[in-house]
């Protein structure tokens, strides 16, 4: 099993969700996040005082899938999150040792 984490532009979330659902990925956890990469931030002005806002709002989504599904899922996220502009985000995957479904106690791939 693999944990796929993606940090994407907030307004692409719906497209990414749809793309994953089409693959049969049924669970997803989303967190509002802030950060910066090459995009850097922007400037805001209040009563003439300038503030450099370095941390840009992003959405961080996490999903656990079977090993075989990992690459198609990553591809789906990348395809649906891309706008071609700077700040589109990152996707990465790490191996997962075990997963338990709390309601039934199932373990491993069955719990995904």
């Amino acid at each position: 099993m693999k944990l796929i984490t993606a940090v994407i532009k907030p307004f692409r979330l719906d497209e990414v969700k749809t793309a994953l659902q089409e693959l049969g990925v049924n669970g997803l956890t989303v967190t509002e996040a802030s950060g910066y990469g090459r995009q850097r931030g922007h400037t805001e002005v209040y009563r003439g005082a300038e503030y450099q806002v370095d941390l840009v709002p992003k959405v961080r989504l996490e999903v656990v899938v079977d090993d075989a599904d990992a690459d198609p899922a990553i591809d789906a996220i990348v395809r649906s999150a891309a706008t071609g502009k700077i700040g589109d985000g990152k996707v990465w995957a790490v191996p997962v040792e075990t997963v338990v479904r709390v309601r039934t106690g199932e373990r491993g791939p069955d719990a995904v």
Binding site: V45, Y46, R47, G48, A49, E50, Y51, V53
Partner: protein, 464 residues
Amino acid sequence: MPVPKRRAVTLSLCPHLTLPHPEERFPVLTLYSSAPLTATLAAAEGPDTGDTAWLLAATALVLLMTPGLALFYGGMVRTKSVLNMLLMSFVSIALVTVVWLLAGYSLAFGDDAFAGLIGGFDHLGLAGIGPQTLTGTVPTLLFTTFQLTFAILTTALISGAIADRTKFAAWLVFVPVWALLVYVPVAHWVWGPDGWISSSLGALDFAGGLVVEIASGASGLALVLVIGPRIGFKKDAMRPHNLPMVLMGAGLLWFGWLGFNGGSALGANGLAAASLLNTLLAGCTGLLGWLFVEQRRDGHPTTFGAASGAVAGLVAITPACGVVGVLGAAVVGLAAGVVCSYAVAWKFRFDYDDSLDVVGVHLVGGVVGTLLIGLFATATMTEGAEGLFYGGGLAQLGKQTVAVLVVAAYTFAVTYGIGKAIDKLMGFRASAEDEQTGLDQTHHAETAYDHGVLVSPMKGSNAS
């Protein structure tokens, strides 16, 4: 807003007035029942009901300005001390009301006790004032309540300069002391019976450029110098946390300001109408002026700029609304919007943390409005004094300048003294730890916004 002498009663049916052709009037009156006739006769002995009705409404309008100010300021601070900011305004309502009725009214509006500087003790606790007592054409109880709402707002205004870092207990001590030692004397000088600024000097301040705006602005500056800047001033981002709240507050202030300035005519008449119109207009030109500067200087017109510009225009027209014409009001508002949009940057250059720009908007706007009276006062409004542009020469400008300097110096100096004394006595400033954690949590044990799903179980209840 000088206390008017008892106005000549112009009612046509007063028994003691000699009417030129009384018999000509009666046929008209017989069209109505006898009820209005009786009411009219009784009115000659009591208050003017029209004036009283308007001033009752205006008083309620002005009272709403302080909660409006609370929202205006509350939106500008960070989430961790918004409740503290709101509460500083709300406790001002409670504290100032008590001291005003105990002593403030008597010292400000009682008969002059010494050289136009302070009123007497005759009306401590409103002694000698009943429902029948009149000031001008309105009940004195209403007049004192109207004036009270001014004292409340002026005191609350100061809190913006010392936002985010003031020990709440110190504020509770400061408010009543400041209201009595600073607000009350200045109110007497300008509006009290035989107050020296209106009677001897002859400077004009219709609704509070000196008493409200300059007094609160100069006092805010004094307190900033006593307690010092917020931790992280000029370094950390201290963005307003809720601009919709700021705009809502500005809207409520604007709404209430119509009662503040329109009510200062102390009657339901043409002067009230003119003041109200001038107030609306100056808010508009102030807003446009500020936005214009922002567009040119920063590249974007902002909501915060619009709210600030409207308030700057309203501040400046406060002393002038009843003494300038419509054109004058437009210029006063515009000038304040432009000047204040630059003045708010002075705190960064000169290194004083006037957190929410009480100096940049209220002191500077108040000075702009009070001085421009010297240029734009017109005899059609003042029935006497005229500014430079209306043929009055430089005399009025000179008087306005003296009044500005004296009021600014007095309020700054006495407030600085009060601030230092309180600081010595109990500490005026919250501890660094409390400030960094946020005053909402450390001083009030509350959180303004419950964003989270992580709630802990209840510990108990004092209410049960």
